[in-house]
Amino acid sequence: MATKAAENTNATETAPDAVVVRFAGDSGDGMQLTGGQFTMSTALAGNDLATFPDFPAEIRAPQGTLFGVSAFQINFGSRSISTAGDAPDVLVAMNPAALKVNLAALKPGGLVIIDTGEFTKRNLDKAKYDVSPLDDDSLAKYDVLAFDISELTIEAVKPFGLGNKDALRSKNMWTLGLALWMFDRERGPVEDWLKSKFKSKPEIADANIAALNAGHAYGETAELSGPLKQLSMPPVPAEPGLYRTITGAEAVSLGLVAGAQLAELPMFFGGYPITPASAILHHLVRLKEYDVTTFQAEDEIAAICAAIGASYAGSLGVTSSSGPGIALKGEAMGLAIMTELPLVIVNSQRGGPSTGLPTKTEQSDLYQAVYGRNGDAPMPVVSACSPGDAFEVAIEACRIATQYMTPVMLLTDGYIANAAEPWAVPDPDTFTPFPAKFLEAKNGPANENGEPTLLPYKRDENGARPWIKPGTPELMHRIGGIEKQVDTGHIDYGPENHQAMTDARVAKVAGVKVPDQEIAAGKAGGKLAIVGWGSTYGPIHQAVNRSIANGMDVAHIHVRHICPLPANLGELLKGYNKVLVPEMNTGQFKTILRDAYLVDAQPLTKTSGQPFTIAELEAAIEGALS
């Protein structure tokens, strides 16, 4: 999925064409940085990859504790990769807590690399180990490489005169150096990155580079004996072109910028800090030269209200949040629906309800997106299925919002927002512009005095009303949340008028033109369709492809347009004997599909805060077909 690569569905278990590595340590150990740099090196080596950062909600959880463990998993290989992988082949555990939390995930026979320097009595107690796992047989079914990374790091950075505490901060670079050696990666890009990151503190950069080199050198030496083997992974066969790695948050931000440019509009982004949506604000704030104005509001409600105000004034208003913040924005979404103004609302979903699991992923805001407002308040909903896909979906959200004069919700989730994948950089010249039009002169019939009149709610062929920018001479008009009269937009509580306007709003959203549903894998019609939406794409796709390779009659359908649904989806689903809908919620899309098509869609749900594994889905497919 990630890289445009030829599908290789016949990969055998023995072929070492993909490896899963998990770096785990204390939340202060810099595991996310290590993972990020390893990702970059892997991408530069031409492998396809997918990542899964998994970190605690606490910024600095007490050191050494089980709940303070931060992990970064990467799956990479010389074939197409679409998930972060089920079970790691290699686990790097920087302390006892990291080992305890992550060991169960490791493949039997997998390699675990352990920093013995952290396996002190105190740390073992914190991780609730009575006996050190290094001293009993609990690691017997794994290859274990245990040595004192802490001490080796201190040795390596000694020439730079750092205290022990500072020296130990380079431990993650030592580990990264070892990992780069293991997979035959260049160190140059990491060195460049360190030099630029610590530009003002060259001694810190040098110490980190020394640690990186020491870890690399250790690999070369240790190879002579023990379980450590170097593995060279050839680049994935990919279509020629320019590639980069991209996270979902970056892709959404770039897609919004591109979307606003294609609409030929300045963008106004109103946001309020919330995990995991804040990254979008952080990206956009640096893109002011693209006619982007960012506004950190006093709360979620003000963020969306300011965005709607900006849309009224002629910008493309955008707001972004996560579940609890989206709930706060609900009333304002209703106003945007009533006043028929363009607006893009990005929801980076996380585990709920309430504060829930701020740093874990879930798809449980689907009902909220589709139904979560007072009154009959229809709103288009689109969903991104991967970090790279989020770029296209953001453009699509901008297109629908401006062409139909409506708020649009874009669903991503914590997994997509934080995960990285290689991305074939698109050429902007290939995008189709959709310039927004503003009304310039009165658009209604002449009145009794023969003067033209203004009809702010006169609808075009899309059912959209005209966009009228304040400041335009002669077109003064008033809008608001009270029911609008057909065409004139005056206040009108009349029964026939409310019926007509409700119908018009429903018809407008139902009539949004969306592409026909395609089949992601398998064929139209058959025994079983696996229907997904959002970030479950990767595991579903792999599982379905593997099942097809094993001779099963199964197809993968992945829906981007949740509202309105693609026109052909109902017929498509009716062509299968069974429809199974895997979701990271308690079955929300399943209900929407049942409601729309009266199909017997069956749920496959997971709400553990973790993505589906391929194995889980393969088992479900087998179960459904048996």
């Binding site: 020629p240 770039l254 104005t293 006093e298 003000a302 209200c305 965005a307 004034a313 698109p426 008033r478």
Partner: protein
């Protein structure tokens, strides 16, 4: 304020064809007329003028102004107006709110629009009651106010809108009342002020809180009960026929204001203060003067401009974009990239 060209308009040009739906005798009618009378005097352009409101009786205001208008949701008008001003700083924005809309459900947004100093005029119609929901007590209702939700009288202490505004960092605080002939002057001063200009307008709710402001707003005794402030002028009040017989002075022992007997001849001698609209300390004291022992401070209480939010945002943008050129293709391909070119090691088929 931003229109370079003075527009020639009359009061009629600012009236819409919509039937005004406030209760007969409502103070809102007088405020509407005062605004419609003031705008032609300012040379304002209707197409460049925008009224933004929240929810409540006062918030129906935009429907009656032949300008651009946005009747938004309860309490949030300041947030909408902030977005509007950031998207188009040239629009002349008037915000209309009430004591419930602006200080109860929307108190948070009111605080932030004031501290950010977004350039607009904020008219808070204070009638000390919830009108549109039929008479419940509001955050400005006096203690003991009987209402459907407080049948034996409210127990909460009221908020003082002007004190809230200055506490939130407002750089302009004015006060007037619905039928006052001086209201247009306060509106004009607010309009001339660059930044968020907060105007508390006492407004008579004829149905649910009738004549609650008569203690100071009634024509009878107005001289004794109203202190109309003018920058650089002594704070004199009292019987106008006697040429004002009282003044406001500072009691240096208690560091509080006091009322002293004063005449046109001796006011300096008895220590009557000269109003300094740039004095924040003085503004605090005038706003907090308890009515009864003191008159009600009215007019332009505080007016000390500071850079506006929009100008700060524009400045930040100029700084951030200096030397940068928008190039979408380049942006998409930024960061650490690599090329798959079909050469050895990169099979493409």
């Amino acid at each position: 304020m931003n229109a370079p060209v003075k527009f020639e308009t009359t009061l009629k040009d600012w009236e819409t064809d919509q039937e005004v739906r406030w209760c007969p005798g409502c103070g809102d009618y007088a405020i509407l007329k005062a605004v419609q009378r003031t705008l032609p005097q300012l040379g304002a352009d209707p197409a460049n003028t925008m009224f933004v409101s929240g929810i409540g009786c006062s918030s129906r205001f935009p429907y009656y102004m032949e300008t651009y208008g946005f009747h938004t949701i309860h309490g949030r008008a300041p947030a909408f107006a902030t977005g509007i001003k950031l998207a188009n700083p040239d629009l002349d924005v008037w915000l209309v709110t009430g004591d419930g809309d602006g200080l109860s459900i929307g108190g948070n947004h009111m605080m932030h629009v004031l501290r950010r100093n977004v350039n607009m005029q904020i008219m808070l119609f204070n009638n000390e009651i919830y009108g549109l929901t039929k008479g419940q007590y509001s955050p400005t209702s006096r203690e003991g106010t009987p209402s459907p939700s407080t049948p034996i009288g409210s127990v909460d202490r009221p908020a003082n809108p002007a004190a809230f505004a200055i506490g939130a960092g407002a750089r302009f605080v004015g006060r007037g009342f619905d039928v006052s002939k001086n209201l247009p002057d306060v509106l004009k001063a607010a309009h001339a002020h660059q930044g968020a200009a907060f105007i508390e307008i006492f407004q008579n709710c004829i149905v649910y809180n009738k004549d609650v402001f008569n203690d100071f707003a009634a024509p009878k005794g107005a001289g004794d009960n109203q202190l109309w402030l003018e920058d650089g002028k002594p704070m004199l009040f009292g019987d106008p026929k006697a040429g004002f017989d009282k003044g406001i002075a500072l009691d240096r022992d208690t560091m509080a204001l006091k009322v002293v007997a004063a005449t046109q001849e001796n006011w300096e001698e008895v220590g009557v203060l000269v109003h300094d609209a740039k004095s924040r300390v003085l503004a605090h004291m005038l706003i907090e003067m308890p009515f009864g022992p003191f008159p009600m401070a009215l007019g332009v209480i505080y007016d000390d401009p500071a850079p506006t939010f929009e100008s700060a945002v524009a400045g930040e943008r100029a700084k951030a974009t200096k030397g940068k050129v928008a190039n979408l293709g380049k942006l998409l391909g930024s960061g650490q990239t690599w090329t798959v070119d079909g050469t050895e090691g990169h099979p493409t088929d």
